[in-house]
């Protein structure tokens, strides 16, 4: 028997999903920041133990490990990235300070201007200049580059980014800078902006190159430590890492381009949701210990943000799956401000010390404590009873908050529960209402063990009537890794117009890009029949700054001279659809050509993922317990079902609780749950 494993390392928990021929299992263990590799190996040890094998025997039978990791996100948030030196053209040292002018609210002046990603005293100017047509107006001043190396040495720089104007037209100066740096500072990783991210507009290239450089040592160390641990434990097969564009890459490729590891992990949640449902418009929420990540699917496509932000004021510079995080999780701490207003988060008790009820030294009330007090979580059945929660500690912590608010125990616990719901709702609205998508017309897929206790109430407030709690809700992202694809996009700029169209030149470019993509898929070991190439062109009307991406199919023989009319009319049509205007008389400018190489993973596409084995039986509650119900203002005795014994075709009515080892579902009154063929809980709001 062989296994496929996906490990998703979050800030608080490390989730592990293991698939074999006929079964799917999930394991959860605490993350171990800052040495995340320990938690990674702990998760594998749990899986091996469950398989009844030693770790080495188990790993010998694993043929692929897919990994989503918070390592880079964590390093960025905590400022533990490498110290980057930036080389720019003489005269232009403030690209990262000025940006395009950061966006702010009108009439708001009581705020600090954001610091640049690379400080000015780590930014060095060098002489040399191309113009926009690629004419060299001034040769590279090599003495300046050597002086920069000196400066970086003194500043103890750990990585270098290079962004020179018009390097996308002629990259010779950037490449020469890299050569000199290799000579002067052979140990430092160097990122060239035109190689990493060949787009126009210098700030976008400079920021992405700087982020990439800042992560290079971090990710290289991280991947090495995981690979070393795996090798020591006897693993010989592939390690694949989830990337920010919703696919996976070989570990070696993510080390080359570490910026693609930003938000690796959270980007897998929508991948999972897309596999789990055929609904066109889906909101995906994934609640961990510290944050809630929200993403979306629109018309069956995972929403990608072309102008993704790294922080409020800085772009990532590259497109990224649109995942928005808010500080709301099971470990979010409740606190009362001097004005007597209750807040929940963004501070989190994390995994250590964790909520008060963990009894590990935490004294502050968290969302989990509130849920224990409300009776939603059974203290004796947390993680299937592996951890016995301390109800008294939860009560004491919530009471302390109540004393400041002047409210009773249950009322306070509910206020904490509800406040955290509202924080999460705001995040959901941000990605739906904020983007013109009506949440009430969306399907909602939940991720995270703690989410199901909050789901119905949030759905009620948002007006959502259909949601899914997947069987592997607690490891949604890890499940996403299992069903993800290999993805890499290659872009080439080649400018022409509809009137002066050179199909041969385009075909040459497409062949080059496809060769690149094929090499990527070859390295990933994807069989030829499992490879797919999506083709897109970027086009615009003259003088527009923003292109639209238009999909096209070149056909086996490539584009012919006659095909241009179709490309042009497709562009006009999409421009009309997106912006309500088009001008068929105007010339269309083609600017770039893209080939997205997609390789099926073991379980991606239409391949069936093994379903969990659920014993057949009657729908009978395993017991009843008192749960506070705010809508009636008192605790009521609710039936409690063992979720692991609810198999395909079964049905329960709210109000009720269904609990499994890693999750507790609170089904409110008016909601019904049906279990589908894969063991997923489909929740529907009763029309009556």
């Amino acid at each position: 028997m062989t296994y496929a494993v996906c490990i998703d390392t979050g800030g608080t928990f490390t989730d592990c999903v293991v698939a074999t021929g006929d079964n799917l299992r999930i394991f959860k263990t605490a993350s171990t920041p800052p040495d995340f590799d320990r938690g990674f190996m702990n998760a594998l040890a749990l899986a091996a133990e469950d398989a009844g094998l030693g770790l080495d025997r188990f790993l010998a039978e694993v043929d692929v490990i897919i990994h989503g990791t918070t390592a880079s996100t964590n390093a960025l948030i905590e400022g533990k990235t490498a110290r980057v030196g930036l080389i720019v053209n003489a005269g232009h040292p403030d690209i990262l300070t000025l940006r395009d002018a950061p966006e702010k609210r009108s009439f708001d002046w009581h705020l600090d201007y954001p610091e640049p990603f690379v400080a000015r005293n780590l930014t060095v100017e060098v002489g040399g200049r191309f113009d926009s047509s690629g004419r060299e107006l001034e040769p590279l001043n090599e003495a300046d580059v050597r002086a920069a190396a000196d400066h970086f040495r003194r500043m103890e720089t750990e990585a270098i980014a290079v962004c020179l104007l018009w390097s996308i037209i002629d990259g010779a100066h950037e490449r020469r800078v890299a050569e000199i740096l290799r000579d002067e500072l052979p140990d430092l990783p160097v990122t060239l902006s035109h190689e990493l991210n060949p787009v126009s507009r210098e700030y976008r290239r400079a920021i992405s190159a700087s982020i990439n450089a800042s992560l290079a040592p971090v990710i290289s160390r991280y991947v090495s430590s995981i690979e070393d641990s795996l090798r020591e434990a006897g693993y010989r097969n592939d390690l694949l890492i989830a990337n920010c564009v919703g696919g996976m890459m070989q570990a070696a490729e993510i080390v080359e381009r570490p910026i693609y590891s930003v938000m690796s992990g959270p980007t897998l949640a929508p991948v999972a949701a897309r596999h789990l449902t055929d609904e066109p418009d889906v909101i995906v929420i994934d609640m961990g210990g510290t944050t809630l990540d929200v993403s979306a699917i629109r018309d069956r496509e995972i929403v990608v943000s072309p102008e993704a932000m790294l922080t409020r004021y800085d772009l990532l510079g590259l497109p990224k799956v649109d995942v928005r995080s808010v500080g709301a999780g099971g470990g979010s701490i409740a606190w009362v401000d001097p004005g007597g207003l209750l807040h929940v988060g963004p501070q989190s008790a994390g995994a250590q010390p964790g909520p008060a009820c963990y009894g590990a030294g935490g004294t502050e009330a968290t969302v989990t404590d509130a849920n224990v007090v409300l009776g939603i979580i059974d203290p004796d059945f947390f993680l299937g009873g592996r951890i016995r929660l301390d109800r008294a500690a939860a009560k004491a912590a919530v009471e302390a908050v109540g004393a400041r608010l002047g409210t009773g125990l249950l009322e306070t616990a509910h206020a904490i529960h509800a406040a955290s719901n509202h924080t999460m709702i705001a995040a959901i609205e941000d990605i739906t209402v904020g983007e013109g998508l009506d949440p009430r017309e969306c399907y909602l897929v939940a991720g995270g063990g703690a989410t199901a206790a909050h789901l119905c109430e949030m759905a009620d407030i948002l007006g959502i009537t259909r949601t899914m709690i997947p069987r592997f809700v607690a490891g949604l992202s890890a499940f996403g890794g299992l069903v993800s694809e290999f993805r890499s996009e290659a872009v080439a700029t080649l400018a022409m117009t509809g009137e002066r169209f050179d199909a041969d030149a385009v075909n040459r470019v497409l062949t080059e890009l496809t060769t690149k993509g094929a090499a990527f898929l070859e390295r990933a070991g994807v069989a030829t029949e499992d490879r797919r190439y999506d083709h897109l062109f970027s086009a615009r009307y003259r003088f527009q700054s923003w292109e639209i991406d238009v999909p096209f199919s070149p056909g086996p023989g490539g584009l012919g001279a006659d095909d241009v009319a179709d490309l042009v009319s497709d562009f006009h049509a999409i421009h009309q659809r997106v912006y309500t205007i088009h001008n068929p008389e105007e010339s269309v400018e083609f600017t770039a050509w893209k080939v997205r190489a997609v390789g099926a993973g073991r379980y991606s596409a239409d391949r069936e993922v093994p379903s969990p084995v659920v014993p057949a039986g009657a729908v009978v509650p395993k017991g009843r317990r008192e749960v506070y119900r705010h809508e009636v203002g008192a605790a009521a005795l609710l039936p409690v079902f063992d979720a692991d014994r609810l198999g395909p075709g079964m049905h329960i009515d709210g109000p009720a609780i269904a609990e499994a080892e890693l999750t507790t579902i609170l089904l409110r009154s008016g909601w019904v749950a049906d279990i589908d063929a894969h063991g997923n809980f489909l929740l529907t709001k009763d029309k009556a």
Binding site: R120, W166, Y203, E429, V433, F543, S545, T580
Partner: protein
């Protein structure tokens, strides 16, 4: 728009929040449409445009999605349409760019689209955009010397450009004949059409979804909520009357002594009203720097809004708590036809909002702010010429935004670096070097934040931006109207002034000469135009500034360590790496006369 905190007189507070975010989402989609589809860099990258939604009876719903001067008095721009037309119908679109019919200035084309829901007119969607050219006699959109409207180019005093969702070809033909680089103009105009029509579609969907009665009730609740928030903010201010005066730089033959601008502001917490009186100012001047009524009204509101909680919705309700007293024939009032207003949105407008803002500063800490930098240097010039890069030289014209003026220090925060002039309110973007250089045959040699220019204070103003540019293989015509070269931004409450703006030319022999402030210059390929924007003023005594912040400013290259010592009384020494500076605590305490 912001989240309402309390219930709005019976309207469901959750629905109020949902619908106000829907309106914000529609405005964002409008903005996105303009950015993505427009052609001139002044619109698509500098974002010199604004999107708004006004009720059909001309009440403002928000002014968050664009430049304050474009939006603060937006309803004055749609109002005259109702006066001129009794047959407004679905599918119409109106153009208004005339200062005498509610426009801001002639280069700002406001496209106004009526929105009918279930047969009833409910809204106007408006995009006001600053075009690269508007067919003036000179190749520029700012004409400080144009004494009358007859010297300004095309005016459309509420003209129906579309019926049945179609452009009127005769009007388009007329514009294309008279506006320079007509293809770019038309592309920009169509971008406005796209944005207004997108918003029209979204508003109709909103009404379909929530029902006409609910949407109407929402509008009332939203405006009432804005008013309640404003009342609360005014009640938190001290009662009294304050005055402040500032002075626009001299414009030869137009205002040889400059233009003093005075404002008097009265706060009455009892009635929760603010009164802004700007009648005590000089008459209109014989040139283009007079205010239009829309700009004068906006300038007064900007001065007030800049000093209150920014989360207050800036709608008809909040504006109703500000009484604005303007005078006919006044340089900052209602202009007397046909006097020129070509430069109404920027120069004297900035002085006007600064004068109103300065009244708040007179209240003392923590109120008010220092003066922000003034604008329109040669780094924000309208450039034009013949692009030699194609087979046949092609004309080009555009205002670019290379360097914005620095923001003002306020209590608790340093100035915002990309503030721009008060009329822009930090909402403009700067042009990427590569966007400018690909579109126009110019080379931007330099753009950097300028050392030792910021106004010093306990809270610093932001530094100026300086740089230079030159044409490639041809001559470029450069037009600008630079205020703040002489009367630069002033510091407040002990803070020092920001460094003035500079406009200069580097000749082929390397010598540099200062250029006039209001000027057209032709620059050859072996020459260069040098610019420096006006920095922001400082707030509070520099000697009270946290020494660590002073060291950080020096390490950023914004301040010399000499200035740290002389102005801030902070002694710095080299750090171990031999590059950075760090605070010498003992020497600083001594300099500041504090016990060590």
């Amino acid at each position: 728009m912001t989240e309402p905190a309390a219930d709005a007189e019976g309207f469901d507070p959750t629905l109020l929040a949902v619908l106000s975010s829907r309106m914000s989402a529609i405005l964002r989609e409008m903005t996105n449409t303009v950015v993505r589809t427009s052609r001139s860099s002044v619109i698509k990258t500098s974002r010199d445009f604004s999107c708004g939604i006004v009720t059909y009876d001309h009440r403002q719903i928000s002014c968050e999605s664009g430049l304050p001067v474009h939006l603060a008095a937006l309803s004055l721009t749609t109002r005259p349409i109702s006066k001129f037309f009794d047959d407004v119908k679905e599918g119409d679109a109106y153009v208004n760019n005339c200062s005498y019919t509610g426009g801001t200035h002639h280069a700002d084309i406001a496209l106004c689209v009526p929105v009918f829901c279930e047969g009833e007119p409910l809204f106007w969607t408006v995009v006001r955009a600053h075009h690269a050219d508007i067919g003036a006699p000179e190749p520029t959109t700012y004409l400080p010397y144009a004494r009358t409207i007859y010297e300004e180019g095309l005016h459309f005093p509420c003209v129906r450009f579309q019926e049945h969702y179609e452009d009127k070809p005769d009007l388009i033909r007329m514009c294309r004949m008279q506006i320079r680089v007509a293809d770019v103009w038309y592309g920009d105009y169509r971008a406005q059409v796209g944005a207004c029509r997108t918003a029209e579609r979204r508003l109709k969907e909103l009404v379909t979804k929530y029902g006409l009665a609910t949407v109407k009730a929402f509008i009332e609740a939203w405006i009432a909520y804005g008013e309640r928030r404003m009342i609360a903010a005014i009640r938190a201010l001290p009662a009294g009357t304050w005055s402040y005066e500032t002075r626009h730089d001299p414009v030869p033959t137009v205002a040889d002594e400059g233009v003093p601008v005075r404002a008097t502001l009265t706060v009455d917490p009892a009635t929760a009203m603010i009164t802004v009186d700007v009648r005590d100012n000089m008459d209109c001047v014989p040139g283009g720097i007079n205010q239009s009524e829309t700009c004068a009204t906006a300038g007064c509101l900007i001065g007030v809004y800049n000093n209150l909680d920014p989360t207050i919705p800036h709608n008809e309700g909040s504006a109703s708590r500000v009484e604005i007293l303007l005078r006919d024939g006044c340089v900052v009032g209602r202009p007397t036809y046909p006097v020129g207003t070509s430069v109404a949105t920027t120069n004297v407008n900035d002085r006007l909002s600064t004068a109103v803002s300065g009244c708040f500063t007179q209240m003392g800490r923590p109120h008010g702010r220092a003066e922000a930098g003034y604008s329109q240097t040669s780094g924000l010039a309208v450039i034009s010429g013949l692009d030699p890069r194609s087979d046949r030289p092609e004309p080009y014209i555009n205002q670019f935004m290379l360097g914005l003026s620095g923001g003002a220090g306020v209590d608790g925060h340093d100035g915002w670096v990309t503030h721009g002039a008060p009329c822009d309110g930090g909402m403009l973007r700067i042009d990427p070097i590569e966007t400018v250089e690909s579109m126009y045959p110019v080379l931007i040699e330099e753009r950097r934040l300028s050392s030792d220019t910021l106004g010093c204070g306990e809270w610093d103003g932001a530094p100026a931006t300086q740089g230079s540019y030159r044409p490639l293989d041809h001559d470029v015509t450069v037009n600008y109207a630079s205020d703040g070269d002489m009367f630069a931004s002033k510091g407040a409450l002990g803070g020092s002034d920001g460094a003035p703006a500079i406009n200069a030319k580097r000749h082929s022999d390397g010598t540099v000469h200062t250029l006039p402030s209001f000027h057209e210059e032709i620059c050859g390929p072996d020459e260069a135009i040098c610019y420096r924007s006006n920095a922001g003023g400082g707030y509070g005594d520099p000697r009270a500034r946290n020494p660590a912040r002073v060291a950080a400013t020096v390490n950023r290259g914004w301040l010399s360590h000499e200035q740290a010592q002389t102005v801030y009384a902070v002694a710095l020494v080299r750090a171990a790496n031999g590059v950075d500076f760090e605070v010498d605590e003992a020497a600083t305490a001594e300099l500041r006369g504090q016990p060590v």
